[in-house]
């Protein structure tokens, strides 16, 4: 049995039923996107739009989401029925990933990319990960997952609140990734 094989079981992703609407986001395969925004509206919209639509009759895209928000809230708001959603929290449970368990998180994300080479991952809650770990350790997770992403046709979306990071940390996060600058909503 592998080191993480028992605890890092990735729920079997399935394609969402199509919404019959157009694809709004043309994210390039094999790329990692850091979206500067707070709250993570663009990132969630892009993620949900990609898993709920197809382009020119192509195969549906399966997704995996990791978030500080509770999965039930995400499912309710975004109408996700088949997409595995993991909660970054210190509670126990099948769909929970402890913020300090970076090894399990890394393994889970890499496993998803290997099993779903054209999938899309939303990694929300980076600020929470950094508040529970050394920044460089979190950066290493992103680098490792991004390396796997770039060898696949998958896409990784990471919303980031720029206020939560130093300019140096932000620069390190945004190395070798695509950057999208969103807005910061105050109301």
């Amino acid at each position: 049995m592998g080191l993480f094989s028992r605890k890092s079981k990735v729920g079997k992703p399935d394609a969402e039923s199509g919404l019959g609407i157009t694809r709004k986001y043309s994210l390039l395969q094999g790329r990692t996107y850091v979206v500067e925004e707070s709250p993570s509206d663009i990132s969630f919209d892009a993620f949900v739009n990609i898993v709920s639509t197809t382009v020119n009759g192509s195969k549906k895209t399966v997704g995996l989401a990791v978030s500080r928000q509770h999965p039930d809230l995400i499912k309710q708001k975004y109408g996700l029925e088949a997409t595995p959603i993991y909660w970054l929290a210190t509670r126990t449970g099948d769909d929970v990933v402890a913020p300090t368990n970076l090894g399990i998180l890394t393994h889970m994300l890499i496993k998803f990319v290997e099993e779903n080479p054209s999938g899309v991952i939303l990694l929300d809650g980076l600020e929470y990960l950094v508040s529970n770990n050394d920044f460089n350790k979190v950066l290493r997770v992103i680098d490792q997952v991004s390396d796997h992403i770039s060898q696949s046709k998958s896409v990784l979306i990471i919303p980031v609140d720029p206020r939560a990071f130093t300019p140096k940390e932000l620069a390190l996060l945004e190395r070798n990734v695509e950057k999208i600058v969103g807005s910061r909503r105050t109301s």
Partner: protein, 118 residues
């Protein structure tokens, strides 16, 4: 090209108008409910109407049907702050062309405008 924005939230209408203007669409009219929307539609005949699915008293589906009864060629984009698959299907069945999740952003809005403004 004229655009109509229908939403009972003034703050959201302002945000939409700001995004539309930034995208180069300056001829925008707004309405806060069903009756004002129909009146604004008849008067201005916008090519695209962004319609919130939940309006005071009436639904976006009702408004979609009413607008299309006036002009079957009108392009209606349904909007909502949650993704309710049944509500989206009902809107599309009523004749809406597409759906936007609120609060929208420049990327999604530009994609919709590029797709439906021709």
């Amino acid at each position: 090209m004229k655009i109509l924005v229908v939403d009972d939230s003034e703050a959201f209408r302002k945000l939409m108008i700001e995004l539309l203007v930034r995208a180069g669409f300056h001829d925008v009219v707004e309405a806060e409910d069903f009756e004002k929307a129909i009146e604004a539609f008849k008067k201005n005949r916008p090519k695209i109407s962004f319609v919130d699915m939940i309006l005071p008293g009436r639904t976006g589906v009702d408004l979609t049907k009413a607008i299309l009864a006036v002009d079957p060629g009108a392009v209606i984009i349904a909007m909502s702050s949650i993704i309710n698959k049944k509500m989206i299907r009902d809107s599309l069945d009523a004749g809406a062309k597409d759906f936007l999740l609120k609060p929208t952003n420049e990327i999604a809005l530009s994609a919709v405008l590029a797709f439906w403004s021709d």
